[in-house]
Amino acid sequence: MRPFKYINATTGEQALQAAEQHERAKYLGGGTNLVDLMKEDVEQPDHLIEIADLEYNSIKENKKGGLTLGAVVSNSDTANHPVIRQKYPLLTMAMLSAATAQIRNMATNGGNLLQRTRCPYFYETSMPCNKREPGSGCGAKKGMNAKHAIFGYSDSCVAVHPSDMCVALAALNAEVEVLQINGKTKMMPFEDFHRLPGAQPEKDTNLDKGELITAIHLPQSIYADHYYYLKIRERSSYAFALLSVAAGLQIKNGIIASAGLAMGGVAHKPWKLTKAEQFLKGKSPSEENFQRAATIAMEDAKPLAENGFKVPMGEKAIVRALNQAYNRKV
């Protein structure tokens, strides 16, 4: 690993200060992704600012009747938190499908949002990759892209976001609380947190330099009765999704009052299925409507040379996830 300096921040302010002072500094949470990337020489920070000791380490109810998840709480503590299990089981289900127990013990919530793509061209430093080395080209676009995006990609990048947790957070309409450089806090709707690659694939999120995630806010729970996280992957566990669907339904008087739907493994960011959500609202939870929603969701898909399978697979996965969510015994 390249040499770097290590800074232990004990307050958010200290962390921001350190980040401002050092151009190539990175925050270090659980390190489960960053440390690997440093070992692979993909990330080359000159300073690591440890934030594990910051005060953003609890899960508590917020003013809006929802829940606030501290940024440095571990993924396992979050997924297994009794209130989350009870009120946001979709989040638990998605989080437990990710990685392994040991990794979840170390990984933090903030870090999960900042996971970098698993695109092999990104990881192999001798290959072209605009995300790793802007201007070097996108190896995957003309190379091997079976596991890449079908929505929202650009000429410079076809990578997908790897997180499971984020797909659930997109479906749940979470918000991200961020400490800005000026010391003030801002809230970002989850959909605006990650970005599409455009001409700047090196930027995964809309965070400004040095900004620090302090918490994730979940709105009031409405999908606790009808939810499902469907993850399609090659082996039964411990693999990133070929494609995944997070579905939450709020049923009132036999009608869908609200639907939360998002997909993973299909775009540079967790892909919220807004049009399908809107379509389902006010409809009856029937197979036919689920199918229609799935068709709507996949309408804009533009597969690459090797990932055409994601379109029929995605459509079937959405229908299945909605069915499972609706039929879940409560």
């Binding site: 992957r233 082996r235 566990s237 990133f240 399978f309 994601k310």
Partner: protein, 722 residues
């Protein structure tokens, strides 16, 4: 004569090295404390074909702790083969850092030696290599014109396949492919080497010490007597540690050059490009049968790749020469040189992949004939190996199929695919035959008997290895049996090349060879002691009494076992059958292997516990072949796009079904005097086809390309007639 309680051959005793392994005390290659050791790390090429034009090591050499950077410019001169594309054998020389030529992506171009592992790793990044890059040959299809016949054994035929096909009522022509796979034993390839006064001593993770000794000695052009290899415990091998790979030579060279012991650990990423792999195989099958289901023709044509500078092939077609009765048979193997590392043996080379093609094709034929796949196989059974024109020493394939079918509940299977549904799941049953040559090779062992406190203790020494197979335990059991003393009085010392020579662990010959070597050594001990004591050879006397009466307190003897003429006159194979129940999600293409029943006939089972472990191990790796294992090559750059265990998916705990393993009671005295046959590879030969066939039965989709991933299942269309 005292009767002693012996836990000997055939008993399910606990692994004698188990305790060391559950307490973290078993020592693997890189775990021996060696004074003054330094760390070496290889730098690998980032192009697949071309030439190094410059290597700048100044920055790397400046780093704290860095002792030396070795490149082709300052490396020791090593022995190289005179041939353009020599075969990669168990004793092949492994020259490294000898020229600026690049043959594949990931080839070693430099070696950094530093005081710590992390310093070496970091300095590797600072070695700047520039290349003159050529367009690499990566694509098999684009290079078909370069296909060549690798050796005289590559082709075989009997009868006339075309005529046989023409006279058949039902025929099949189908192509099956299996991807590049990697062995990936959990222990990374590692070694600690010291070169002192012209002698090499190394702790190295090698499966066959005597061959490795030859390879090291030849590469450095020194006498074999000057090489000692110690491999007390190996963290798995699966073929990848059969040969001496270049890292071991690199570390030895480094030690020679700097005069200190050198430790090297090949990284997991480097294990994709530098320690062997199973090659991609394309297998074209042609089968013909009459209406009664009797095979009339069987052809098996395999095309694979090798390296541009070295060759190896797994003989996929061999299984088609011997498994079924057919008058007309043709087998060919062709290789296409590509800019990839040289492949080597991975668990059941040829059989694992060849059986997938043959046993899938047999299932396709059964479906076309509307015959039960078990009955179809039984109908075409043969007790003579028609390919070798020799009788089998024993062959209980029919029994394996019948007993397995019964245990599995095969009669519940519906011939029509998609007929068994359970909610969103399509349920299917599949079967495959298993076969694996069960060789036995010349093996020596030393027995040292000691009298202590009125009891006999024995130490057995052999250069054989335990790669997880249970060699320590079965050697102890065999010695206990033939010495008539308890297992607890036996001390087994393996994995030192200074011990008597064995064929090592690999090729399913370990158990038979080790056990018979020990048998002869123990018998020799008795003979010698009887001679000394003036006791007639045929008299039965306990070892303890013999030693007491002749006042011998310690006695040492070596014995050597060799295959008999009868063995040479027969075809010696282990057989088996695997039955699988697979549930396929009708929409997502994900599937679960729900349960498997495996029946094996592999001669005398020395220890049912360790034998069972070998079978489930083979089945698990075979399941991996089907579920996800594949190494993909980047089409433009020639690097492996699957470059870590996060991309190369080996089976995990959740992937595995309930597995029921049955061994048929058998002793094959033609195979060898104890009647034992190998089982380390038998398990893997039947899994892939049984699962693919179950998937067909579940879905009506014929999956001919491994691995069978969700996306392939979604895209596949239904087979005609489903």
């Amino acid at each position: 004569m005292k009767t002693l309680e012996t836990s000997s051959i055939g008993k399910a005793i606990d692994r004698i090295d188990g305790r060391l392994k559950v307490t973290g005390m078993a020592k693997y290659a890189s775990e021996f404390p060696v004074e003054n050791v330094v760390y070496a790390q290889g730098v690998t090429s980032t192009i697949a074909k071309g030439k190094i034009t410059s290597i700048d090591v100044t920055e790397a050499e400046k780093q704290k702790g860095v002792i030396k950077v070795i490149t082709y410019k300052n490396a020791e001169k090593l022995k190289e083969s005179d041939e353009k594309r020599p075969a990669f054998t168990l004793t092949s020389v492994a020259p490294v850092l000898q020229s600026p030529e690049i043959h594949y992506y990931g080839q070693y171009v430099a070696c950094v030696v530093a005081e710590t592992f992390e310093q070496a790793q970091y300095a590797c990044r600072l070695v700047k290599v520039t290349y003159e890059e050529d367009k690499p040959d990566i694509d098999l299809d684009k290079n078909r014109s370069k296909a060549f016949k690798p050796d005289d054994q590559a082709d075989y035929s009997r009868g006339d396949v075309d005529a046989g096909m023409q006279s058949s009522d039902v025929t099949l022509e189908a192509t099956y492919t299996t991807p590049i796979e990697h062995q990936h034993p959990m222990e990374l390839h590692a070694a600690i080497v010291s070169w002192e006064n012209g002698k090499v001593k190394t702790y190295a993770s090698q499966q066959i010490l005597n061959d490795a000794k030859t390879a090291i000695a030849d590469t450095f052009m020194i006498s074999e007597d000057n090489v000692q290899i110690i491999a007390a415990y190996l963290g798995g091998g699966f073929g990848s540690k059969l040969n001496v790979h270049k890292h071991l030579i690199m570390a030895t060279m480094a030690s020679k050059m700097i005069g200190r012991p050198v430790q090297i650990t090949v990284t997991r990423q480097q294990m994709f490009t530098n320690t062997g792999m199973r090659q991609f195989d394309e297998q074209k099958m042609r089968l013909g049968a009459n209406k009664k289901g009797e095979l009339q023709a069987l052809a098996h044509h395999t095309t694979s790749h090798c390296a541009t500078d070295q060759m190896y092939y797994e003989a996929c077609g061999n299984v088609s020469k011997m498994l079924y009765k057919t008058p007309n048979n043709a087998v060919t193997h062709r290789l296409i040189p590509l800019n990839l590392q040289v492949p080597n043996s991975m668990r059941a080379p040829g059989e694992a992949t060849g059986s997938f093609a043959l046993e899938s094709a047999m299932d396709e034929m059964a479906w076309k004939l509307k015959m039960d796949p078990v009955e179809f196989r039984i109908k075409n059974d043969t007790q003579r190996d028609l390919g070798a024109d020799k009788p089998f020493s024993s062959r209980l394939l029919v029994e394996c199929l019948r007993i397995g079918a019964d245990k599995f509940g095969w009669s519940e299977r519906k011939m029509q695919p998609r007929a068994n549904q359970n909610g969103n799941w399509l349920v299917g049953y599949g079967v495959s035959a298993a076969s694996r040559r069960a060789p036995y090779r010349k093996t020596s062992a030393r027995v040292i008997a000691d009298m202590r406190n009125g009891e006999v203790y024995a130490t057995i020494q052999m250069d054989g290895t335990d790669i997880g197979t249970g060699s320590y335990t079965i050697v102890a059991q065999t010695a206990a049996e033939y010495l008539g003393i308890p297992v607890k009085n036996i001390n087994v010392e393996l994995g030192d090349s200074d011990f008597p020579v064995t064929p090592g662990s690999g090729g399913s010959w370990g158990a038979a060879s080790y056990a018979n070597g020990v048998r002869v050594a123990c018998k020799n001990l008795f003979s010698k002691l009887k001679q000394n004591a003036g006791v007639a050879e045929e008299d039965e006397v306990a070892l303890e009494d013999l030693m007491k009466s002749s006042k011998v307190t310690s006695y040492k003897v070596v014995g050597t076992a060799e295959p008999s003429e009868e063995y040479e006159n027969h075809s010696v194979f282990s057989f088996g059958a695997n039955f699988a129940e697979v549930w396929v999600d009708k929409d997502t293409g994900m599937y679960r292997i729900k349960r498997m029943v495996n029946v094996g006939s592999a001669g005398k089972i020395l220890n049912p516990k360790t034998a069972y472990s070998q079978i489930i191990g083979g089945l698990t790796m075979g399941a991996g072949m089907v579920i996800a294992e594949q190494t993909q090559v980047e089409p433009h750059h020639g690097n492996f796009i699957t470059r870590s265990l996060a991309d190369y998916h080996v089976p995990v705990n959740l992937d595995l079904a309930n597995i029921d393993v049955v061994f048929l009671p058998e002793e094959d005295k033609i195979a060898n005097e104890i009647g034992v046959k190998g089982i380390g590879e038998l398990g893997i030969t039947s899994v892939a086809a049984s699962i693919a066939n179950a998937i067909f039965n579940a879905t009506g989709k014929r999956m001919r390309d491994l691995p069978i991933t969700p996306e392939k299942l979604i895209e596949a269309s239904l087979e005609a007639g489903v």
